[in-house]
């Protein structure tokens, strides 16, 4: 108790964590609404088919409205009092392990609430149109609601255990949704792959939580953060690395990035919501949320930064080589999350920037995915961009919103990506010594590559020759591209507006940074950067322009073959093979694992089973022989009794007199 008291005392000095009152008392409704929706739709079964999708949308929209209410409720408060907690119920009261199911309502979690429910609501609405022909639409909405509920638990929980609960919940929802069309072997395999690779990360997160509990005896954020200084530096490093492993699994970062592109086998709204805007950013949230721990471990942060830089380049390079519209966007997601991880790895200089990029990315990437879905909707579910071309005229709304998203992601000045990505590149260059050059250089190079592959995507899809005219889709139908219904285009338009304006809204006047200060601390501007501040945007714009130009030269200027060329240079081949990530995984883990398993099976079969079966055979044989002693002759039974009696008496006498 003295520990606790001391912790609370330090806490009181650091930041004030108030109890949530007023309108915030019902914050559990945020989670309960979509959870209820999921429960009704899953338990109600076919009876809810007719109105299930409407209920699914309604719960998320209501959650969003309530989240907005909470947001304004919080902005009314003094910045010092914006971190509030709400105890819901005592969850795991086991001896020393006391976990209360509580919610932490602070600027960071509320930001995520708005992102998750806002983008979530738009994508729910979009899905009404996108999934209208699917017999299992009700189930789809149930899973989506389940996902939203789990994601809200993840971001709202006030302890690592609650976070873990949400973490696994979104994992399940993601698994269910990737495998939504489980009759396709590719979807089933992709879901399994996602689940297994996530599991690797989850183990890391779980062990990190165990370590925290072992050394601090608690998993509540407030206490953990207040007492993180008590941890030894070795433990701190271990915890930061294990948390990072968890983040890598969930966010598709190196070395666990391979599942994310495969996850595009799920319906496109899922790709937009879960595998672009929200769930995959949970890793960024985890690192940002654990900022008091990361602040204490510069080495841990360095690893985070390295992983981020590496992943952003990997994502860009592979993105250049793919012809599948969703896979390109998926690798683009991998690389953009790399930017975020890089940013939060920079520490106080980057937490808020990472979150800012996360938000803007949430808008434009969700918009891009919805656009891709709209294109596929109009093109018989075709995903190969080599079979598109000249679609601008046939689906103008889709094309315009898509192009806005494209401009945002490449960092066109004034659009949202420009503000958030440039800030990260600047912060990276703001590091001292070799770090500045390496991380800044990687981020800069990534910006150029992003411009290249995104331009290629847009050109191949919406402009140039109408390559689809002479082709039929896999099921033999001709392509009749058409614009999607308004239930799909309206969300795209809303997201496009966000992609245009969000960056400026967040960045100008440091709106977002100030708002997040109670959660993430003040943003430290770098003083000793390797490049002057003014130079970085110029360089970035130059590189982006170069990327766009290169793409135009390569695919805009001249006709593109419908089938992709086989004889290509080594780098392209490597990129097409995901930079051999799957091969490496297979060689390093899968095959040795299989060998180990086979060896163990051998030991088990020959050794353990041999022993067991041998014993069993011995017993069975002994039994078979011994039962012959039960001859059925009463006189032999009497003999056995007499023998037994003589033995007993003799033994007693021997024990006594010997």
């Amino acid at each position: 108790m003295t520990n606790l008291a001391a912790a609370q005392a330090t806490l009181a000095e650091a930041a004030q964590v108030g109890a949530a009152g007023g309108v915030a008392r019902f914050a559990w409704l945020l989670i309960a609404l979509p959870a209820l929706g999921a429960a009704v739709l899953l338990i109600g079964g076919k009876r809810t088919n007719a109105w299930g999708h409407l209920l699914g949308c309604a719960t998320v929209v209501l959650s969003f409205l309530y989240g907005t209410l909470l947001f304004f409720d919080t902005t009314d408060l003094d910045p010092q009092r914006r971190v509030r907690e709400l105890d819901v119920f005592s969850w795991i009261p086991v001896n020393a392990l006391q976990v209360d199911f509580g919610l932490r309502l602070d600027p960071l979690s509320l930001t995520f609430v708005l992102l998750v429910t806002g983008v979530g609501a738009l994508i729910h609405i979009y899905s009404v149109g996108y999934m209208s022909h699917d017999a299992d639409r009700r189930k789809f909405f149930a899973y989506l609601n389940l996902f939203v509920a789990a994601m809200l638990v993840l971001v709202l929980g006030n302890s690592f255990v609650t976070l873990y609960f949400g973490w696994e919940g979104v994992g399940v929802a993601s698994y269910l949704l990737i495998a939504f069309w489980q009759h396709r072997p590719a979807a089933a395999t992709a879901a399994k792959k996602a689940f297994l690779m996530n599991r690797v990360g989850d183990v890391g997160l779980a062990i990190a939580i165990f370590l925290l509990f072992r050394d601090l005896g608690t998993t509540q954020y407030t206490e953990v953060f207040a007492r993180a200084g008590e941890l030894s530096s070795g433990t701190l490093l271990a915890i930061t690395l294990l948390l990072l492993l968890g983040a890598c699994g969930k966010s598709g970062q190196f070395p666990l990035q391979a599942w994310l592109p495969d996850a595009m086998e799920g319906p496109t709204p899922v790709s937009a919501l879960i595998h672009a805007a929200t769930m995959v950013t949970a890793g960024v949230y985890l690192v940002a949320r654990s900022n008091p721990i990361y602040d204490l471990s510069p080495d841990g942060r360095l690893v985070v930064t390295v992983i981020g830089a590496l992943t952003l380049l990997i994502g860009c390079v592979i993105g250049c080589a793919y012809d599948d519209i969703k896979k390109v966007l998926a690798y683009s997601t991998v690389s953009q999350i790399g930017y975020m991880i890089l940013a939060v790895g920079l520490g106080p200089a980057g937490y808020a920037l990472g979150i800012m990029h996360l938000l803007t990315h949430g808008f434009f990437k969700a918009g891009l995915f919805l656009g891709a879905g709209s294109v596929m909707h109009g093109m018989n579910d075709e995903t190969d961009i080599r079979r598109f071309g000249g679609l601008f005229r046939y689906m103008p709304v889709t094309a315009v919103t898509f192009i806005i998203g494209y401009l945002a992601i490449i960092g066109f000045p004034g659009l949202s990506g420009y503000f958030s990505k440039d800030a990260i590149i600047e912060a990276a260059f703001g590091q001292e010594g070799w770090r500045g050059w390496v991380f800044g250089g990687a981020a800069l190079l990534g910006a150029g590559l992003t411009a290249f592959y995104m331009t290629r995507l847009v050109l191949l899809t919406f402009f140039g020759e109408k390559r689809w005219e002479k082709l039929t889709s896999a099921d033999g139908r001709a392509y009749h591209p058409h614009e999607s219904p308004s239930v799909m285009t309206v969300p795209m338009i809303v997201l496009a507006i966000g992609s245009v304006g969000a960056g400026a809204f967040f960045a100008l006047g440091d709106n977002l940074v100030t708002w997040l200060e109670p959660s993430l601390g003040a943003l430290e501007a770098s003083e000793h950067g390797v490049l002057p501040h003014a130079l970085v945007p110029v360089l970035t714009i130059l590189l982006v322009a170069a990327g766009v130009a290169a793409a135009w030269l390569l695919v805009g200027r001249k006709p593109v073959p419908v089938t992709r060329p086989v004889r290509v240079a080594l780098p392209v081949r490597a990129a097409r093979a995901d930079l051999y990530a799957n091969a490496i995984n297979e060689a390093l883990f899968a095959r040795p694992g299989a060998w180990l398993a086979r060896a163990l099976v051998f030991v088990d079969n020959k050794g353990v089973d041999g022993l067991v079966n041998g014993t069993a055979a011995l017993l069975g044989g002994g039994s078979g022989r011994m039962r012959r002693l039960q001859t059925g002759f009463v006189r032999s039974y009497a003999l056995s009794m007499l023998g037994g009696s003589v033995l007993v008496v003799a033994a007693l006498l021997v024990v006594r007199f010997a």
Partner: protein, 99 residues
């Protein structure tokens, strides 16, 4: 003649009875061998009563006799019924239940 001889005699009788149970086939004889064992016990009891100078042993012998009589009633009934069934009193013929 010391009472110990009676004890030895009764032990001998008990052993004869026990061995008789093992080697005789006729159920009645087997049963009579059991009775012989009981009577050997009676002899032991009476002898000990004599040695220890109490009456208990003699009284107990009466109890044993009564019990033995009751056992005869039950035993002969069972042996009778199986004899009627099988036309044989050999215990070795009752050999259906085994292994």
């Amino acid at each position: 003649m010391t009472p110990t001889y009676y004890l030895l005699l009764s032990a001998l009788l008990f052993t004869i009875g026990a061995v008789g149970v093992l080697i005789r086939r006729n159920a009645i004889v087997v049963f009579m061998c059991v009775e012989l064992m009981l009577n050997a016990v009676n002899l032991t009891l009476v002898t000990f009563a004599r040695i220890n100078g109490g009456l208990d042993g003699q009284v107990m012998a009466f109890f044993v006799m009564v019990v033995a009589a009751a056992e005869v009633v039950v035993g002969l009934a069972i042996i009778m019924s199986i004899f009627r069934t099988r036309r044989s009193a050999s215990v070795d013929d009752s050999n259906l239940l085994k292994y």
